[in-house]
């Protein structure tokens, strides 16, 4: 079974390319048992979202400020 190091490497690459079936299965098996890597995987997506927002913040809508 994959360790945390190789799992996190693949979780990073999943942001850049489609993982192979074997890789995906390995990651799924590992993260089903490892909360640390499960969190790491979620945080890869969150980092990506935060980076998009850092570059292009959502403009505040009027309804937010007035209501």
């Amino acid at each position: 079974m994959m360790n945390c190091k190789s799992t996190t490497q693949l979780l990073s690459q999943a942001q850049d390319r489609k993982l192979t079936f074997i890789e995906t299965s390995g990651v799924k098996l590992h993260t089903s048992m490892c909360k640390g890597c499960r969190n790491y995987g979620k945080q890869m997506k969150q980092l990506s979202d935060l980076s998009s927002q850092f570059v292009k913040p959502k403009p505040e809508t009027k309804s937010d400020t007035l209501s």
Binding site: K5, Q13, Q15, G36, N39, Q43, Q53, F54, K56
Partner: protein, 205 residues
Amino acid sequence: MIEPNLTAPETHNWTHDEAFMSELRQQMLKFATLQLQDASLAEDAVQEAFIGALKNQQTFGRRSAFKTWVFAILKHKIIDVIRNNQRLVPSSSVQNDDDDQPDLEVWDQQFDDRGYWHLSERPTAWQQPSESASNDQFWEVFEACLEGLPGQYSRAYMMREFIGLSTDEICQELETSENSLNVLLYRARSKLRKCLQTNWIDKGA
């Protein structure tokens, strides 16, 4: 009749903000001159970095994000100049910045010998990252964490996550293999993750 004075939000208008652009240029010049010890080489590097960065200016709604990006390009230009001109003695900060293989041992300390998380390093869940996004202090931490990344890491990361280039395009630009890029991006993301964990999440913000 009085025209309504609509001040456009920061998110759209900064490229027309001459004060901001000129201050940014001054900061870049100061930085480049310090590194290169040559005013005209510094001027050229800043000019090229600006032109390079403005190609993607529409990507950047937030001025501080543009600033981070333009400085990443500038650092790269400075390294180019130093490489092409061996007479110059680069300051240690740029030299270290260009080192692609820093502290492997330190890096690996988050995992044990078998490659599993050390208990203290194991990522814990991030609550409400969307709430952080509306907090200015959070973005200061985010910016500082990005700036703390070694040069090649941050440039690869920004090309991927800011500009949205494909890994093929980044490999061409950085003249590196896909494997090396995967390593760069992995380390950049892991360091950024850890930096946010330490400086934002763990502080209970």
